[in-house]
Symmetry: C2
Amino acid sequence: MSSNDLPSLGAGSPGANLPALRGHNTALVLGLLRAAGGEGVSRLELAAHTGLTPQAVSKITARLRSEGLAAEAGRRASTGGKPATVLRLVPGARHAVGLHLDRDELTAVLADLTGRAVAERRAPLAFEAGAEQVLTTVEREVAALLAAADGPGVLGVGVACPGPLDHTTGVLHRVTGAPRWDGFPLRDAVAARLGLPAVLDKDTNAAALGLDRARPDGTGSFGYLHLGTGLGAGLVLDGTLYRGPRTGAGEFGHQIVQLDGPRCDCGRQGCIEALCLAAVAGGDLPGAARALGVGAANLVELLDIDQVLLGGRTVLAYPEPFLGGVARELAAQARTRGGGSGARPAVSVALAPGGARAVADGAAELVLAPLFGARRPALRPR
Amino acid sequence: MSSNDLPSLGAGSPGANLPALRGHNTALVLGLLRAAGGEGVSRLELAAHTGLTPQAVSKITARLRSEGLAAEAGRRASTGGKPATVLRLVPGARHAVGLHLDRDELTAVLADLTGRAVAERRAPLAFEAGAEQVLTTVEREVAALLAAADGPGVLGVGVACPGPLDHTTGVLHRVTGAPRWDGFPLRDAVAARLGLPAVLDKDTNAAALGLDRARPDGTGSFGYLHLGTGLGAGLVLDGTLYRGPRTGAGEFGHQIVQLDGPRCDCGRQGCIEALCLAAVAGGDLPGAARALGVGAANLVELLDIDQVLLGGRTVLAYPEPFLGGVARELAAQARTRGGGSGARPAVSVALAPGGARAVADGAAELVLAPLFGARRPALRPR
DNA sequence: TCCACTTAAGCAACGCTGTTGCCAAAGTGC
DNA sequence: GCACTTTGGCAACAGCGTTGCTTAAGTGGA
């Protein structure tokens, strides 16, 4: 048995056959059921939002009900005829494990199908102590997590840690201060150790994926900026997490915003990360926020971003100065974009919900997302 | 009849049925035929690259041949059995018109299915003279273009002009120096005038789409930087043109790379465009190239870009200084990314092929691309 | 109280997709 | 000249969403 059996639709074989068609539509319906949340959706509403015929939706939902993934949940009020039956996702039908491996701490969550964490554990971690110790800790914590919950059907494990790494192969490229991790196949090691399929991704990507699920409307683009010991970003473009060809996208910290600026650890000058962290160290929070804000404005401008979300320890320690400073830069940018009919309000900035658990939640979402279709369509509340 | 009948797969109705399945696979095969070029591909190779069975490929290619889009073209040398029959795209089976409406000039091309221009026309244009004059010129030039060629089956017209505009509605947002164009529905106006389906997009997006077709391997990401009277970019991410939710992506010129730098026309300070154009005006080409290069490096870093292509009048006027300056910045960036196994060579920079006709060629590609599937899979040369 | 109407959802037959099993065609090489 | 390999078509098939029709379950006016 291969150690990585998670569904990977379409990536390798772009040709589509009947099973692929069925899988696509099933995932689509599941995604709408999930987006509907506790309120549920009727079959006809699903038909309207997918473009499928009501009969097709009936067949698909019948399969989902027989598999225990969906259930009927009462009826709507009549609108002049037979009242619609409401369908709902069964959150506990499957679960996924999300692991956040930070430099000094491990966070593990068990998430249900809605992405909600039904159990959580934290443990200190010494990443530079090497693979064996880390894997032992992971095994122990995940075992405890699964024992606590009655969770049937664990689909797999999502692992998130600081980059750089390769999402497609599941291999770490470089870990600051721990050269022996170079090239370590973390995904397969975790999968073998736990006996579960695994996915590996950068912490910022996982967080962005998790935040995308929590957003009110599904499509659109947003950027998640994570300021902790370093500065990185997760990009969701047109409703899809963008990783880049080598999982290298989102390297936001070394964007240069000041030609001939102060030298950065990376060797270049004027990187946002250097400006930000130096300002924070010097107690100049407005200055740090301004540098972050200029970077955010560049991001918004370049990628036509809808919203900016901030997270990471440093931001969480001083939320107001950062939110205010970034908002100020985005407002300044918006003022310059007026002119014709294209004038629009400043892009909003907010604190990423989920706080310190955002990355672990997102790691679970790495496993869950494929079930619900890559691109989640918007379900407008009628 | 609506004035815009171009195929728009999947955007509105994400649900897939049998016609959608068929269309998807047909486009996939057509895309591979196109990528194979004059050499052609055998049915079994198509099967291997799509993941479809050879029999399915036979059925699909039989349809394509009966529609005149594909043809048999000789045989391969035998490898120990029956020699494979080579299939080839029939370039002249369909055509598309590409229009580049620049501020002072119109370029029109008639492209065959491979994207090659089989006819071309140029005419002076006064964009600020208003819609009626522009449409009249367009009608005259397109008529002349179609009369010269014996091109049957014109699929539609792709229109490219400077932004900002909305690709989905085909409406111009703002034209510098010509406020009466604000909100003008250019796409529908062109479609009605010519009696052909039309698509509208930004000049940089069209150019990037056209350049994507011309690239050796289909997937991956690249950025096209266009420096003319302004500075803009076209982004192809994971083999797909990224437009952003409001066709606003690629606004590269007002990326800030120098905090508190010289004031830009847009009102902010330190924009790349301001730095670049001021340097060019002052005869400081290395300085202009350096500003452009820093912006390119930021782009590469943020989006994990494979290649940078340069175009536009100003670059075409002084190719060497710009290529050299940008290459220098990308090399400086690559040096700082060493460390572990993730070390990789500097991202390459090159002049965009096609020169002054790149945008018009890309405009035709706006029409052609949907036929060949959005995401073109790589066809490795065995 | 009844009946016409509306809306929701299932049953059965159907068309069309890619798949499977089999066979003919057309080469190579001993 | 024969065994073998490789290519590609023919025919029957399974399974997808669709269509046409029927049943279920309400509302609302006469």
